[in-house]
Symmetry: C2
């Protein structure tokens, strides 16, 4: 399902949900927040250095993943970030936060998380994502 | 110089550098990293909810601020993020990180910082920013 070769640390932390034009979409194993990661199909490491066409595609993917998260989870605030200090492969965090989540109002990066998804939950979210992506 | 009414917490943490189309640009007082903040001219609180025209303008501003930071500072990695869990006024962090900065490779949010700018440094960066913005 994934078309893009993932950095092993990124792969270890996530489940693959599916693909959008120009990017794969991952689900972080940390189920304490609603956390997707958009991985653009590029070897560049900075969002601002992407070719304009890929930049537009990545922004559209971010928008679509945000809509998906709002549909599947309770989301009070979105946190959208390209950091990459540890894993240099370009990846954009799209995170739905709740005022009662385990690390609110702090940022989630660097925290350990408090729950993980069951296999059935991952399968259901993957199915929902693929129906969502096919209807875009 | 600022056209946009700033949340008092955002104003307290920053110096105003200047404006770009659709956004004001702030410099965070924390001089331990090269930290600008883009404040779009909107009352919406999520990047993904902006009108398409403002969204394009904000992406251009982020790109320009990143170019400015790369020109004025040593930047090994950019961290670009819209978080807003504490200050809901929409603002996008554009941060130049160095592998030897005080909180590398962690994220800067939630850290205290180790240095601040002198008045002369702020004035010089503001002048440089305005020359840069006028030449875009």
């Amino acid at each position: 399902m994934s078309r893009i070769k993932l950095d092993p640390r990124l792969a270890a932390d996530t489940h693959v949900l599916g693909s959008l034009p120009g990017a794969d979409v991952l689900l972080h194993r940390n189920a304490g927040v609603a956390w997707c990661i958009v991985v653009p199909d590029t070897e560049r490491t900075e969002l601002v250095d992407l070719d304009p066409a890929l930049q537009v595609a990545v922004q559209a993917s971010i928008q679509q993943v945000a809509a998906f998260l709002r549909r599947e989870f309770v989301v009070d605030k979105l946190n959208i970030a390209a950091i990459g200090n540890i894993v240099s492969q370009l990846h954009v965090h799209v995170i739905g936060r709740r005022r009662d989540d385990y690390c609110w109002p702090g940022v989630v990066w660097g925290t350990a998380g408090d729950t993980v998804y069951s296999e059935a939950q991952v399968a259901a979210l993957r199915a929902a994502f693929n129906i969502f992506a096919n209807n875009l």
